[in-house]
Assembly symmetry: C2
Homo-oligomer: 138 residues x 2
Amino acid sequence: MKLSTKFTMALHLMIAVDYFSNQKITSDFLAGSINTNPVVVRRLLSQLKAANLVEVVRGTGGVKITQPLDTITFLDIYNAVEKPELFHFHDHPNLECPVGSHIHELLDQRLADVQKAMEDKLQTMTLADLTTDLSHMV
Amino acid sequence: MKLSTKFTMALHLMIAVDYFSNQKITSDFLAGSINTNPVVVRRLLSQLKAANLVEVVRGTGGVKITQPLDTITFLDIYNAVEKPELFHFHDHPNLECPVGSHIHELLDQRLADVQKAMEDKLQTMTLADLTTDLSHMV
DNA sequence: TTTTGATGTAACTATTGATGTTACGACATA
DNA sequence: TATGTCGTAACATCAATAGTTACATCAAAA
């Protein structure tokens, strides 16, 4: 099973908000760039707002990024829109079985370490890296 | 969105196959340890078999691991049962938009690097690590 | 040869989460 | 007050997982 598209959509959103920061940015406008429904955008913005990454102006519309781009990492975006646990344990191992009764003890820390490796890598990448690259492309 | 439980179930399977290797191991027996349906086990074994990690004896039953435990990594198990791509890109970014038209160029390599970091970590862990730990627990 | 017990797999159901959509109240400004 | 926007509920749709039943196939023992 793959992760959801929320992470890449959220990254797309943030880049677009920065790129078009000289104009007023509405959820309709952003939906046009991602090619999705404005409500999907609003839900993502709502999560990014809860993570203190953006401010959304109610009523008149408009989105602003609240922190310097080089301090916003991929991990910040990821955590804002995805579940905290990457791996999904099967629910009811048989505790009567010597393997089933120790399976969590065997795996939990290792799975956490793998997730940590992914998170560490996500943390090395910032939105500033993207906007720098983009400025050389357009 | 979390990954599926197939990965942890597959790890559970492999450990159990090793732990009970002195007896004949059926999908019914393994299903009892994981607490799931035998068909779920057979489907997982089928994928592990396709990855050359186990042999399953048809007709009379029985499962054997085909390689030394210290050469079978978490990554081998992961690749046997999960999709090759971890991240899931949103389908149709607007190519008329300067952000939409460059979003893949901006993200593809970076997402691949993150996945690589996860895979590298998965590759440092082997089934032998688990059986060694388990032998100290029971 | 027949019986037994197992695998392989198709087909179906149920559940979950993501994604898309409509609708509408709340809000800020002109 | 009118307009355009956000926030969010409600619902529809879709895809994948996970579970289940059923049955053909197979290998070995009786």
